[in-house]
Structures are given as C-alpha cells and as structure tokens.
C-alpha cells in the first residue's frame, strides 16, 4: 500500500493551489459578501481545463482521473467553498451522468461544450417534498409523440440559473413491485432556453453565497424524445449512482474548507499575541491544532480512497465506491464543521468578524453536512451495507 502521490498528482496539486491562490482567493470575500456568481473565475477555470478533469480526451476532457478532480475541488475550496461547489456540481452531477449513461450521440453533443466550459451543468433531483426521500418526486414527464412533456419543479439547484445543461429527474409512470405501486422514475437532459423551462427565486443562503441556487420550474416544457438519459425507469438508479460520485466532490469540498481553515489558523496563532507571547505557544492552541490536523488528514485519506475506487470503477465498471463515498462525505463534512468551529474559536473575537476568512469558512462548512445526502443519509448508506 503506497500513500505517496504520483508525480502527476503532485504537479496537479501545485497547479490547483497556484490557481486558487492567484485567481480565487482574492475574490472569495467579495463573492460571499455580494452573493455574486464568480463568472470570470469560471471562465478562467474553463480555460485551464478544470471543467472536464475526469473526462476522456475524445469527449474534450482532460483525460485525468477522479483523484485529480477531487484534488481540484479540495484546493479551490481551501480558499472559496463557492468555487469548489460550482466545479463539483458541474462535474459530478451533470458531466458524469452524461459520460456514464449517455448515448454516443448525447456524449458527442454535450460533453465537449461542458468540458470546455462553453456550457455549465446542473442537476435537478430535489423537490419541495422530495429531498432525502427521492421516491417522493412529483415532477412528471409524459411522452407525447416525439417529445417528453415536463411539469413540476425542482428546488435548491446548485449552478441554478447560471447553468446551460440540466439533468432532471422525473416520474414517467407507475409500476408494480411486489404487488405495490411504485413511481417509475427516469432521467432527462434539459437545455436552458427550452420553452416552458423557467426559474423561481434565488435562494438566500447561510454559506456558499456566491453559488447560484435556484428553483427550476417546468410548465409543459417539451424536450426531444432522445433527451431521455439512460433507460426509461432507471432514473432512480442513475440519480443514486450520480450522487455516489457527487459525494466524493462534496467530501473534497468539505476537506478543502477544513484544510483552508486549519492553514488560516496556523498563520493566525503565530501572529496573535496574548500575555506577552504568541498564542501558538500555549499548549491548548497546540493540542487543538494537532487534533484539527489529524482529522483533516484522516478525511483526506477517506476522500482520496473513495476517488481512487471510483477510478477503478471507471476501468472495470464493477468496483463499487458508494460506501467509501458516503464515509468520505460523512466524515469530511463533520470534520469541516468541527475544524472551522475550532478555527473561529482560536481566532477569538476576530474569528467572528467577516473580515477574517474563518468566519466564512464556518458558514460554508455547514452545507456539506446537508446537501447531496445529509450526514444521516450517509449513515443509512453505510449501515445498510454493513447489515445487508
């Protein structure tokens, strides 16, 4: 077992770190304060190939692996949680399902533009009455001639109004399983600008405030028959499998936020003086930092392991990584919350002031315990595997 990163991954980390420091960090506070989507940063990331990292070159991607992608989200999130989730939602929740379940025509049509950043992706599963309980879906899709007609709405959609391509989950019928009626769920690709597809209000959030979170509304929205993604009736499996991958992205985001808060705190405690010496010289500070760093490193190992198992899946199409992804997300999200809270505490009063990055990081961390499956859902996934 080798914990050494390859030369490729070391170089990629240097790239992501330099980019994050030079292009993302200077804007992070303003993006949070003004709740503005960082469009220019997204364009720069697109130019540098960050929007198609784990996609084969034949579809316009970078031909790298899920670990490289996770490292990208980690490094971006170290300085800006908003920027991290933009890449994560785009890559894990839109690009990945098209790459995994799309027909050759769909891949050729969508992936090059998504990988080059000409188009941004989003994913619509959650509804007002269906978050964790995906079977509670109300959005319907009815086949009418050569078109699917979508009606319903999706809420809390990341990259909401800024995206161009949306993976939308909808009910396409009722089927009987073990004598009981079940909703048949399918997945669709919906383009922005399709008549009948509009947006609700923008959500005002606690953290990741520059991320564009909107409600998607479908009113007799007609999309071509060929925009069905995967087989009809397989939408629930597609959504769940997509979220398995998405959790690696969010785990990487949580890891990045925690690591960023740790870095900021290390710098701060060396400078801050109390009782005539730096607070880094107090044993309480040292022990807190040791605990924070240990947990960040443990989270990193879980995240990288999940990413490496997904890489194996992409080769053999057999290796499962859902449990590892759930563990990584559960742990990294809770570490993000704990480490950012301690970071604020070690900053004292300044940690509560918006001028200091850890204040934003603590607010950004909270969502990682909630979206793409709450921590409770991750525990359900992990325990279901233990008890099967």
């Amino acid at each position: 077992m080798d914990f050494t990163l390859s030369k490729k991954h070391e170089m990629a980390r240097t790239l992501f770190r330099d980019f994050a420091q030079n292009e993302v960090k200077p804007l992070a506070q303003e993006v949070d304060e003004t709740e503005c989507f960082p469009r220019e940063t997204v364009e720069k990331m697109a130019k540098s190939g960050f929007l198609g990292i784990p996609v084969p070159k034949e579809y316009g991607g970078q031909g790298c692996d899920p670990l490289t992608y996770a490292m990208c989200v980690e490094e971006l999130s170290k300085v800006c949680g908003t920027t991290g989730v933009i890449v994560s939602a785009h890559t894990s929740l839109c690009v990945d399902p098209i790459q995994t379940y799309g027909t050759e025509e769909q891949k050729q049509k969508y992936l090059p533009d998504l990988c080059s950043g000409k188009k941004l992706g989003a994913f619509g599963l959650t509804e007002p009455g269906a978050g964790t309980d995906a079977q509670g879906q109300q959005t319907k899709a009815v086949l009418d001639g050569d078109e699917w007609v979508l009606n319903g709405s999706k809420c809390f959609i990341t990259n909401g109004k800024e995206a161009d391509v949306y993976i939308v989950i909808a009910v396409t019928g009722i089927v009987e399983k073990k004598g009981r009626p079940f909703k048949e769920i399918s997945a669709f690709i919906v383009d922005k600008g399709t008549p009948g597809f509009t947006f609700g209000t923008k959500e005002k959030k606690m953290g990741i405030r520059g991320s564009s979170t909107y409600e998607l509304i479908f009113t007799d929205c007609r999309i071509p028959k060929e925009n069905l993604l995967g087989q009809k009736g397989k939408g629930f499996a597609i959504a769940m499998h997509t979220l398995d991958g998405g959790r690696i992205g969010i785990a990487a985001q949580a890891l990045g936020i925690a690591a960023g808060a740790l870095e900021a705190t290390i710098n701060y405690v060396k400078e801050r003086k109390q009782f005539g010496r730096s607070i880094a010289q107090f044993q309480n500070t040292q022990f807190q930092l040791a605990d924070m760093a240990t947990k960040v490193e443990a989270a990193r190992n879980l995240v990288y392991k999940a990413a490496m198992k997904k890489a194996q899946y992409q080769i053999d199409h057999k290796t499962s990584y859902g449990v590892e992804a759930a563990m990584a997300k559960l742990y990294a999200a809770e570490v993000a919350m704990e480490v950012t809270t301690k970071a604020v505490q070690l900053h004292g009063g300044y940690g509560y002031i918006r001028e200091y990055d850890v204040e934003r990081m603590m607010r950004d961390a909270k969502i990682t315990e909630i979206y793409e499956g709450t921590s409770e859902v991750q525990r359900m996934v992990i325990s279901a595997d233990l008890l099967k």
């Binding site: 030369k7 490729k8 170089m11 790239l15 540098s48 190939g49 970078q62 031909g63 790298c64």
Partner: protein, 260 residues
C-alpha cells in the same frame, strides 16, 4: 515553423537561497520555479503555436531535477523537452552556459529561439545574446511584444523611456521580458501527458562544435569572490514621543547620518 525556448529552473526566492562553499548556488537544496522571464518567453512561443501550429521545443541545462521545469513547460503546451545535463557542465557561468546551449541547439532545426531576458538568480541578461553570437544569428533583446509576419518577426523592444519596433528575418533570437504577457496555467491533462512524455537527455557528447575549455566551472571566466542572500533588515528602533519631539528626533537622526 519551429521555435526553441530556453528555460531555466531557478530558486524560488520566497523559499530562501542556499550556497555551496565555493559561492555557487546549491540548487539541489532549494525550492525551484521556472524563471519568470523564460515563462513569458514560453508563453509567447505558445501563442505563436496557437496561431500558426508552430512546434515548440523547450531546452534547459541543469541538474537531472531540472527535468521538472521541462515537464511544467510541456504541461503548458510545449511539444518536446530537452535536458542538457552532465557533471562536466556543472558550475557554468553565462559564457559556459551559452556555449553549452548553443552546442545543443546546433542539433536542432529552428526558425526562432526565445530566451528570457535574464534569470532571477544571476540577473546577468547575457546568456540569450551570447547564444545568438555562438549561432551567428541576429538577436532582439527586451521584447515586450512579438509578432510573426511571414518569415520575419516584428518585436517591440523596451527602453527606459521609449520603445523600438524592430523587424528581423528568421532565424533569430529574442529575449523576452516577464511583462511580455501573462503566462497560461498548466492544464490537468497537459500535466498527465507531460509526465508520460519522454524527455530527451543530452550530455557533453551530444554538444556540437564546442571546446571543453569553454564548459563547466573550468570554462567559466567568472570567478565568484563572495555571494550572499538579500541582506535582512533589523527590526529598527521604536520610540514613543509626542509629535514635536518626534520631528526633532527624526531630523536629528537624519543629520547624524548626513542625509540632510
């Protein structure tokens, strides 16, 4: 069109500078980066490649670990990398370096050679022009803008208070300023390809038309008497005085030092 870009791995001055007992830099012990002027030269070459499909070859002389800077250049978009490394080449000053690079370049076809104006570790600005002398081709130094027109280049050459527009027929050599452009980032896919790519490694035996007496430390006319890192300033002196006293105090200090 074929472009050769000479790049150098230099100490990252943010990480501190370390010296060998003979006064030369201990390159193995320092964090390194691609020299900023060279990076701008590489970016200029890559922009010409974007426009014309030119082939860009990067070349460096250094320790085996200088291979890293070649891979970085290839991850940005350079097509080929050549490392010139040999124990007999160690300790080279600008003369021995330019002799070595010219000897290596004589193996290659080229229309344009781009070097950085100067490296942040030596700040001599001599290697580029010297290479052009060795190869007997024109040099345009201090380029802040480069355009290719047919088989000529048109270069905006920076001066302190003005600029020159210089046109030269290729093959020629241009030395680039860091202000020339904003170098692109590597791409993740470029990194993966660059790490899989083969780097050509040349030693003394591959150098064409060079004399041993012009190589390495022995072939370097420059003798280093003493080398030092940037002088660190002390913490200064703090005094607490009211404004009127403070003015008198400062003026007194300036007089003591014969500043006023």
């Amino acid at each position: 069109m074929k472009i050769i870009v000479c790049i150098k791995q230099v100490p990252d001055t943010k990480g501190g500078v370390k010296f060998n007992p003979d006064g030369t830099l201990d390159r193995g012990a320092m964090l390194t980066i691609m020299n900023p002027d060279d990076k701008a030269g590489l970016e200029a070459a890559l922009r010409i490649k974007d426009e014309t499909g030119a082939e860009v070859t990067v070349i460096t002389m250094g320790l085996p670990k200088a291979e890293d800077v070649l891979r970085e250049a290839m991850a940005m978009g350079a097509d080929k990398g050549i490392l010139v490394t040999d124990r007999v080449l160690g300790g080279a000053d600008t003369w021995a370096t330019s002799t070595t690079l010219a000897g290596a370049i004589r193996n290659l076809e080229y229309d344009l050679i781009i070097t950085g104006r100067q490296a942040i570790d030596g700040d001599t600005a001599q290697v580029g022009p010297q290479i052009s002398e060795h190869l007997n081709i024109p040099v345009i130094s201090y380029a802040e803008d480069i355009k290719v027109e047919g088989n000529s280049v048109i270069v905006k050459r920076q001066y302190e208070d003005r600029y020159h527009m210089v046109k030269a027929q290729m093959p020629c050599l241009i030395t680039a300023l860091a202000e020339l452009n904003e170098p692109r980032y590597m791409t993740p896919g470029g990194i993966f390809d660059a790490c899989d790519a083969e780097i050509t490694v040349w030693g003394r035996a591959n150098l064409v038309d060079v004399d041993d007496s012009n190589l390495g430390l022995k072939g370097s006319p420059t003798k280093i008497a003493k080398a030092s890192d940037k002088v660190r300033k002390g913490s200064g002196e703090k005094v607490t005085l009211d404004p009127a006293e403070a003015v008198d105090y400062i003026v007194g200090k300036l007089k003591d030092k014969h500043v006023i």
